[in-house]
Symmetry: C3
Subunit: 468 residues, 3 copies
């Protein structure tokens, strides 16, 4: 089922070189600098409960597609917030529904990842569909009972060199602590993602501010204390191995406001009286502050911009966030990031990794910015674009202006732990194919390509995220 030449250009000349280039990196360790694996998995190291809990329920790529064709979320195990009992609890029934609808994924990266995961992680030998669903379920369920399929053994078998998780500013990092104390050698690091304390409109902002005070031992009653508390948390994250921060914003607008304005907005928010304009200005200002902190503490700053979260209000109210209804928005970086790049973009200690959901910005804004500002690197194709065609468009759109050395290597960005090797493998294949095409078009020499594939598969991620 898994062809050794999958994802390569059918031209025999290109395919031959793609195969060679891919072969040289196929077994390199996996560097995972950005993703959403739950660290509790690795601190607790419990067996995964069953195929449905492992593969379907945490994966919004899967249930969004089923939902788009009329399959209710409850019926595939997603619990309504007000009445969790309404969800289907029969894992086998859910898996059967999944199998019945697996044709929907034809031509999608989800199907590519899952086919490889089924075959290489679990040894499944036949395609998933309505007829084979139960047999495959039983096969995987049986495997999951085996200690080899517990998280830490999988981590090792996957040859993961380092895995960064994504954690809130007020996270205690207890699981990271437990992993360290356990004596297990897996390198699992936190990433500082303070969205809930930065975004004044976040539903839990007020609680988070209180929690920030509790954790830092000083009540957060002023803007200065707020900044100090954030700096203190960053320091704690660094002490736990973090090398990066991450920031989710609707728009990458950056703009420095006066200290007095920042204080005034902060006080209004504390009093529960903030406005959308306050939020917009405060976020723009905080991007500047967070960049300043990165210059000082060396944490790599990531910005993920342009997602309209929870677009479908009915689904959000009934099931909560991350239900597959975040929809991209048009993005603008040239004007929006100018303040930040003007202030910090020339600084040798600053590193900024940008992610976009608007592919029209690749050649128009991002590659020109990254091909100039020393601080800037382009993150890999994100979310909907983390796919064969998405990766091809990215490389074909940015390389000519920014080269490959202003890009950040690969992120798997997943919460689906057992899919990690398949995601890296797909990217390594697409990159090998991209380089093979350039070799066969005589744009680069083969010996260049041989170095470049190692950089794309391994070195750039390590170096960008300062693991090296």
């Amino acid at each position: 089922m898994l062809h050794p030449d999958r994802y390569f250009n059918p031209d025999p000349g290109v395919r031959k070189i793609a195969r060679e280039l891919y072969g040289s990196v196929a077994n390199l360790p996996l560097v995972c600098p950005h993703g959403h694996v739950d660290p509790a998995l690795l601190s607790e190291d419990r067996p995964f409960p069953d195929p449905t809990e492992l593969i379907i329920i945490p994966d919004h790529y899967i249930f969004r597609m089923l939902y788009s064709q009329g399959v209710p979320l409850e019926s595939i195990g997603i619990p309504p917030r007000d009445d969790p009992e309404q969800r289907e609890k029969d894992s086998r029934a859910i898996w059967q529904t999944f199998g019945d609808h697996f044709h929907l994924f034809r031509g999608t990266p989800t199907s590519c990842w899952l086919r490889q995961e089924f075959a290489e992680v679990f040894g499944v030998t036949e395609p998933l569909n309505g007829s084979s669903a139960m047999e495959i379920y039983d096969h995987i369920a049986e495997k999951l009972k085996n200690p080899e399929f517990r998280p830490r053994q999988l981590f090792e078998r996957f040859h993961i060199e380092v895995l960064s998780t994504t954690d809130g500013a007020t996270d205690t990092l207890e699981h990271h602590q437990k992993i360290r104390e356990s004596g297990w050698k897996g390198d699992v690091r936190p990433t500082f993602r303070p969205d809930a304390v930065v975004n004044l409109m976040h539903p839990s902002w007020r609680d988070q501010i209180d929690r920030l005070g509790d954790l830092t031992g000083q009540e957060v009653t002023s803007y200065d204390r707020y900044i100090a508390a954030i700096e203190s948390r960053r320091e704690f994250f660094r002490s736990m191995g973090a090398t990066a921060t991450d920031h989710g914003v609707t728009s990458p607008y950056s703009y420095e406001i006066s200290h007095a304005d920042a204080e005034a907005i902060f006080q209004r928010a504390l009093a529960g009286g903030g406005t959308e304009e306050d939020e917009r200005r405060f976020t723009a200002h905080m991007l500047m502050e967070l960049a300043r902190m990165s210059v000082e503490d060396g944490l790599v700053m990531q910005i993920h911009a342009g997602s309209f979260r929870n677009h479908n209000r009915a689904i959000f109210e009934r099931f909560g966030p991350d239900m597959g209804c975040d929809i991209p928005l048009r993005a603008e970086f040239t004007r929006n990031l100018r303040a930040l790049l003007n202030k910090f973009g020339n600084h040798p200690n600053f590193r900024l990794v940008l992610f976009t959901l608007d592919e029209s910005t690749y050649s128009r804004e991002l590659a020109p910015l990254a091909g100039h500002y020393p601080a800037l690197r382009l993150g890999p194709p994100w979310w909907f674009h983390d796919s064969l065609e998405g990766m091809k468009r990215f490389r074909r759109s940015v390389t000519e202006t920014a080269g490959i050395y202003n890009t950040a290597g690969f992120n798997d960005d997943t919460r689906a732990f057992p899919s990690i090797p398949a995601r890296h493998d797909l990217c390594r294949r697409v990159d090998a194919n991209f380089l093979a095409e350039l070799v066969c078009e005589y744009v680069i020499e083969l010996d260049d390509a041989e170095e470049m594939i190692v950089d794309l598969a391994y070195n750039l991620a390590r170096e960008t995220y300062r693991f090296a």
Copy 2:
């Protein structure tokens, strides 16, 4: 002249599979759910007058290109509104001008369609150019005298299973009625397109409102009566076989205003005093109302958004609309459609088909929306993008996020009746090639592709438009 492998990837492996996949659907009936064929053609079934009247004069794809290179519209037979006599009336002279300029169409879909139409419908064996023009004219003119070339016989020869026309809200559908009464078996259905009664700024809006009153037997003096009249016309269209509505809007902005506001705007418009802001808000509100009606009566709702109509004022004033001077605008769907999708996008009875002229929305907004909301399907590449490259970009941009099952199959969208088979054939070839490439890249299995090509060529259009 027509190569059997046309439009396929030159790679022999891909070509072989593309040929097989195409072969399996080449002769399937044509499903034509959206287009602009004049139903009078099929109710009257008169012979087409001559090649120029048949092929050039109704086709703004043709005369826009000639005009762009300095050929005056009058000289190719387009009548000025104020002095129709100024137009060239010699069909042979016009055809000669067309032949002299046919090189302008090299590399365009118009050239692909016409070459196939000439060859397969009319048996023309040589390329059109200045030297061959008159010979080809005579050849086609001779054919048109033959009863086999009358509209109904062509309809049958083309193997058209169903053809939907596009009709105004106040159209009496007399031609559809005559077709039904004639005993001829051709399935020709109306589509409800109420733009002229919805768009308050439409030049004939006031007349259309009066006409709406006449047709529904109650003067349209209030917003409620207006809504009731529209509902009544929809019911009439449904009784005549309509399965869909269609709405042309500059922006797909949707927003519900209060009943009092709607009434106030409506009254201002009736009194001749509407503003552009009135029009913008009323159109946004009417999209909500029309979606509500679709939920209730089951008519599939189509939105064609983003064309700046009649961009060239001098041409519009002299020749009228549809003269090849409609120019696309940047589009935005994520925010604009939120109100509509939040209210109706989860409803099982609602189906919305979206069309865009802004390809940057494919991967950024449309595929993510269609890959989530159950009501939504993506219409095929529209207008300027209904072409080989346009179709490739569409499939390569949306499939990875939305799959093929959230797309609507093909629309020929044409008023050029004899070009219909060539348009479907081109799409079937491009789809077969797309799937063949995926097979050869090992993204899908061949047996998947064999099912998918039938879905793309036939089933998806039938099912999306509720013909099934």
Copy 3:
């Protein structure tokens, strides 16, 4: 190192035809209607000083990439404005730095151009890198001493048929004059680029207005005199062989204001009191005036829209403009150009060539506009998009709607004189390959392609820019 099939599709069938098509135009003369070569080079015809002064220091494509990876501009010879002595002056050291970082250009057009320039202009036989840098430097330095490598001999060897430079409105064109008087036969023409007198916010605007008065013999104290002075300068440029004007604008917004408003804005600007809104309206109005002048005097109007100049303020302040920190902006043409196209777009004497940095406008706005308005031609892919992939995207995006005959052929747009042949060669190869793919997909016939490649490589540029 230079493969004869470079930049062609690896498919053997496509490659064979691409090779034939390319072969038919490989040796045609070079038509260079837009670029930034300094005319002093050709009037003075001095030997080039050394490889670094010739190749690195004038080329912001090169130093932007080095800067993006942390190489300070001073260290590669760029003089700071306030202290020019701070720059590295050792040309050999700079070249070594360049060689050490040449891997950054892998996959970029700069690497393609330079490899060809090194090989074909200078006979370099090995790849540039840190080890070979000094040897290559010496090799090129030796060549530059040879009279064959002086500018005029290179011009002839390059087979340049005509070269247009880019010159300010107040330029005396003394170098063009000297070339004419020298008896040398090279055809070098000025282009009228009045940005500094049109853009009220330009730092030297006031000085330029004074200079305009000096040159035209009448102080520019009113809007009417300003217009008359511009017309007078255009006439002078025409007398010196100019066939075109060029206009750099942030946005292509066009809008005619009243004479009184124009006068009022002009007087405010003279008095040093203009505003950004004044500048925006005045530029929009001047686009209308400049188009009107083009209708009258027949100079082809070029608009280069959408670059945010000097984005990195620190670099601008320290080193000045054109330091590789101009970043593209989202562009809009449909609404912005409507006033201009409505007034002049149908005029047979008007020709407008548009350039964009926003590729999303190709299929959405530019091809539909060019496929309708007779005055309009699309300029070739500009700046960041003047590359293999950029050219492919351009042709694949615009041809289906606008054909090739509404495009303007190639511009090398360079200040790097010895790179001119490599740039034309790359474009001819990409165009040949594009046509070969269309032939192998049976979209066009081979005999069409044979004509089209000559049009793309030679005729369209001559005809668009009225050299013919």
